[in-house]
């Protein structure tokens, strides 16, 4: 039973990751990991700040839209 639940969790994680990728959502955890390795002196943003920055950028001056 336990492994079954684990498997479902794992599957949900994969689906979530694909969904995020397809809609080009940035992954907060991996960004924090990146900051910690490459720029240890910088304090990483909170998840809300990170998301807001992303939205500003995505719909900002360099936004694209297709037919």
């Amino acid at each position: 039973m336990r492994t079954f639940i684990q498997k479902i969790r794992q599957g949900a994680g994969v689906i979530r990751k694909i969904g995020k990728g397809v809609s080009n959502l940035p992954d907060y955890e991996s960004y924090v990991a990146h900051i910690k390795i490459h720029h240890p002196e910088v304090a990483p943003p909170t998840e809300a700040e990170f998301f807001n920055d992303f939205l500003d950028k995505k719909y900002g001056a360099s936004a694209r839209r297709c037919c």
Binding site: G21, Y31, R65, C66, C67
Partner: protein
């Protein structure tokens, strides 16, 4: 995390491989000849699917590899921008399939659905050939080559690349061109939605409900559960389905239905107000949540349609060619050449994709070798969407197709009169047939619902209801399809207005600095107002145009979109020539030449044709004569309307002329560069990033 067992590669057998490719090519060839030669009986849609998929497979395997190997030398050892500039945000090495999904979702819009539906008036054959051949030889090539060029330049935009590789003049002209096409695109897509929602309380209510749903999702993602897009989208989707179901209650209620029944002009004005609000409000509140909802809906419905066509295997009722190849058709005017090739723009080749291929996607590619799948393969998928749209339009009986898609000026507003007019064209249909279909989909009328969306929705409802629910659910599926089209068209309208506003601020900021400041509210309001006024004008004119606005606006959009593709191909050709690969420059030069011939012939005819149905100037002249003689035709009710028609046609003629000059300007500027390489034998530097060895050992 478990580690995946490493896949053991079987030794490839060259003979078996060759046999498989010969089989694929044969399957494609046989299907194509069935499509092309079948005359007397109805042909099954599955032939279209096989013919297109086999052609795509061969083109992908051989032509895309030819381009990547011979011209660009794509190299899996060469570090991509995602690796060189990795920052965890904009530059992130991404899984090939996930990125393919993202790229496809970003390029697919309403264009490949509407164009083929309109083009079906000439029969299924010309549209199918252009969608498939145009994609593999022009559309995919453009998307793929632009993606590679941008990937080799830090993911720069096509405008920047044009400036660097051609010069400041070409670059600036390209920017103006992009802004202009944006305005026309928003107006024409807005018109498609207005025509789908007018006098339709079910549709109007459901679409109106998407706004509070988006607002709720926005607040959820901002305050309740920051950044939880997945959760918000699932809740949003559930609410959307509720809005769809409750739409029927609204439509059937005597008190509620009138509250959601509007004339076209009123809906157009609502849309203009909405566009303005979306442009000035913070994005998290309205724009972003709608965008997510629409992405999931889009990918889901397109997948569902593909499954549906495989399961239902509908028969195509439209003949291979209709008599309207001579240009006298009611849906759009003009001969097969050049007008078919601009009516189907997206789906065969779309200039808009060059903006996406040089935007987000090149910054996310993990390995150069993935570009084939993402750039070339992404466009193949879009082309397949266009094939499916063509199937959905041509499975209707031709009489019904023309009843939905012909403007009132061509068939009148009375059902029995319309039925006899259409039957006189050789497509027999009865008033009963038209009325009962309207009843089935729970709409007041399906007559003259031009723009493509309603007839596509009827076709899709046909397929979906055969899979789930039968005739009882026809109305549900019809409105589901309308919802799907309207939601992502509205997402193009609101985000497009915002993008247009930024472009305008950028362009005007060169003249007067403060107007370029994106955080100065007066500048934001002024430029947003200018942008909505620009597309709003074309939209209102299209809605009130008694001759059917789609007739005028869609060709204008098609011409501009194909011209944008020409700009992208000019830039691509310039880069290939500068790389010293002149020997292979026909890869982009051939589609470029074709697009120049098509758009310039179409543009010339739109301005100067002596047939008032086609030529803008002639139409203005004829209307002017009628006005001064006091003999206005019944389709033009007032003097005001006549004056409006005269002015609009003159304006459209001027616009078309400006577009043509714009492209000529870019081409001449580029020819200057080509000449330097070809005749003066100069070696010009390209702005390509130098080679750098990748450190990523194996990217999944």
């Amino acid at each position: 995390m478990e580690t995946q067992p490493s896949t053991i590669r079987k030794k490839s057998n060259p003979v078996a491989k060759a046999l498989i490719w010969i089989a694929v090519a044969l399957a494609g060839g046989i299907s194509l000849s069935v499509i092309a030669l079948q005359r007397d009986e109805h042909i099954n849609a599955i032939w279209f699917v096989v013919a297109s998929l086999a052609t795509y497979a061969v083109a992908y395997r051989f032509y895309s590899r030819f381009i990547s190997n011979k011209i660009f030398g794509l190299d899996k050892r060469r570090a991509t921008p995602a690796e060189r500039y990795t920052d965890g945000k904009d530059y992130v090495p991404t899984n090939k399939w996930v990125l393919y999904g993202h790229h496809f979702a970003a390029i697919a819009g309403a264009g490949p659905l509407v164009g083929p539906t309109l083009a079906a008036q000439m029969g299924y054959l010309p549209g199918t050939i252009w969608i498939v051949a145009g994609a593999v030889l022009a559309g995919c090539v453009q998307d793929f080559v632009v993606l590679i060029i941008s990937m080799r330049r830090k993911g720069k935009s096509i405008g920047e690349i044009a400036r660097e590789e051609i010069g400041p003049v070409g670059g600036y002209l390209a920017l103006v061109g992009v802004f202009a096409i944006m305005i026309i695109l928003i107006a024409v897509l807005g018109l498609v939605v207005v025509n789908a929602l007018k006098a339709s309380p079910w549709g109007m209510y459901t679409i109106a409900m998407t706004i509070p749903i988006a607002l709720f999702m926005g607040i959820y993602m901002k305050f309740l559960r920051p950044g939880r897009v997945g959760e918000a989208s699932i809740i949003g989707f559930a609410l959307l389905i509720f809005a769809l179901v409750s739409g029927q209650w609204v439509a059937d209620s005597a008190t509620l239905a009138p509250m959601f029944t509007f004339e076209g002009k009123t809906i157009a004005i609502m849309m203009i107000v909405y566009g303005f609000l979306a442009s000035v409000l913070p994005v998290w509140l309205l724009l972003a949540p709608r965008d997510y909802l629409s992405t999931f809906l889009k990918v889901g419905v397109i997948g569902l349609l593909a499954v549906g066509i495989f399961i239902v295997m509908p028969e195509i009722k439209m003949p291979a060619l209709t008599k309207f190849v001579d240009g006298t058709g009611p849906v759009f005017s003009g001969n097969l050449f050049p007008f078919l090739f601009i009516t189907i723009a997206c789906g065969a080749v779309s200039g808009f994709h060059s903006l996406i291929s040089s935007g987000t996607t090149p910054k996310l590619i993990a390995n150069e070798k993935h570009a084939n799948m993402i750039g070339y393969g992404g466009m193949l998928t879009e082309s397949f969407v266009a094939v499916m749209a063509l199937v959905a339009a041509t499975l209707l009986s031709p009489g019904v197709y023309f009843a939905i898609n012909s403007p009132g000026a061509a068939i009148g507003t009375d059902v029995s009169a319309a039925a006899s007019t259409i039957s006189s064209w050789g497509f027999s249909v009865s008033a009963d047939e038209i009325n009962s279909l309207a009843q089935q989909v729970d709409e007041e009328s399906i007559l003259s619902r031009t723009g493509g969306a309603p007839s596509l929705a009827v076709g899709m409802a046909h397929i979906f209801s055969k899979m789930v629910g039968g005739p009882q659910l026809m109305a549900f599926w019809y409105h589901f399809a309308i919802l799907f089209e309207a939601v992502f068209i509205l997402t193009t309208i609101d985000a497009g207005t915002r993008v247009g506003r930024f472009m305008l601020q950028d362009l005007l900021g060169n003249i007067w600095k403060p107007i370029g400041k994106t955080d100065w509210m007066p500048a934001v309001y002024i430029t947003s107002a200018i942008v909505v006024a620009a597309w709003g004008y074309f939209l209102v004119v299209g809605v009130t145009d008694p001759l059917g606005g789609i007739n005028t606006l869609w060709p204008l959009f098609g011409i501009t979109n194909q011209m944008l593709a020409a700009i992208a191909l000019i830039v691509a050709t310039t880069v290939i020539i500068k790389m010293g690969k002149t020997k292979y420059c026909w890869v982009t030069l051939a589609p470029l030449a074709w697009l120049m011939i098509v758009t310039f012939t179409a543009g010339w005819q739109k301005i100067f044709s002596q047939l008032p149905k086609i030529g803008f100037l002639k139409q203005a002249e004829v209307t002017k004569q009628a006005l001064t003689a006091g003999k206005l035709p019944p389709t033009i009710p007032t003097e005001e309307a006549a004056k409006q028609i005269i002015f609009n046609n003159q304006l459209n003629a001027v616009l078309t002329g400006i577009f043509m000059l714009l492209i000529l300007g870019v081409l001449i500027d580029a020819l200057r560069i080509w000449g330097k390489v070809w005749f003066k034998k100069e070696e010009l530097p390209t702005s390509e990033d130098p080679f750098k060895q990748t450190k990523i050992s194996e990217v999944s």
